[in-house]
């Protein structure tokens, strides 16, 4: 049981880190854009 829990925790952690990395790439690009549209512009 403890072994299964540990392995699951490792898997979840690895997947979270990978997802965070891709989100980081996405956000880094978005924050560097010239001007992302604001809420006001959208309406």
């Amino acid at each position: 049981m403890a072994d299964w829990l540990f392995k699951s925790w490792i898997k979840v952690s690895v997947v979270s880190v990978i997802l965070f990395f891709f989100y980081h790439l996405f956000i880094s690009q978005k924050l560097e854009e010239e001007c992302i549209p604001s809420e006001k512009d959208k309406n």
């Binding site: 989100y23 980081h24 880094s28 924050l31 560097e32 010239e34 001007c35 992302i36 809420e39 959208k42």
Partner: protein, 256 residues
Amino acid sequence: MEQNKDIADIQAAEATFQKKKKFILCYHSFSVNNFKKASVQIRKIAEAAGSPISIAVIPAFGAAPESEAEQFREELEKFVNEGYEIMLHGARHRADLSINRSIAGKIALLVSNNEAEFAGIDERFTQALLKRSLALWKAHGTGKPSGFIPPIWFGNKYLKEQALNIFDYYEDFNGIYHKVDGKIKKTPSSTLSFSILPSAILGVAQTYACLKMLLPGGVHRLVFHDKDFRTIGEKRILNMVRYASTLREKIMYKDL
């Protein structure tokens, strides 16, 4: 045509769902020493967000000449008249090193480079410093601040209760507090601030802040300081504000 209507309905429903998530946008440490530069920065942030924001003000004049103090007062008055929300941010912000502090308070000073003014001080000094902060604010003669934010969010065990006896709102690292029917109500809220972080992790911190805005839960506080305009850069700050505004509704403390 019918299909277009459905799409519009779905988009409206999605927008309403997203707007249920809220965040607070606050500019910290507006003071007599930086008000000229900070005023421009605050207005740029507010423009990106689409409405006035909250401003945490350090009320002390220090050794500023009277003409500067007068301009600072005028700027504060302009902000209040334009609908910005004022929060009090300590008395001087910088800690008085001659006051006795608890071990936790001393560690807080070490971490904050002696900026955590209220960290670990006793009940009497907390009361005195709070009163001093309010007296300094009253000298500016610009209404009552909505709440109190201790410098670097480090307080002590007496500060929350004492601050809520004077102000409507008080906050620490983990939440925002206000009194409802005599009881203290906590609103869960993460502090998303960058000013004391080492530059090596600023990129990851910005991603974390955006992720917190994206995920449900809490009324998070997105906080900017003058320093962030040098370390993060204006473009990234304004884009972060615009991005957060598309995910959550920006509110003020008084809207909680």
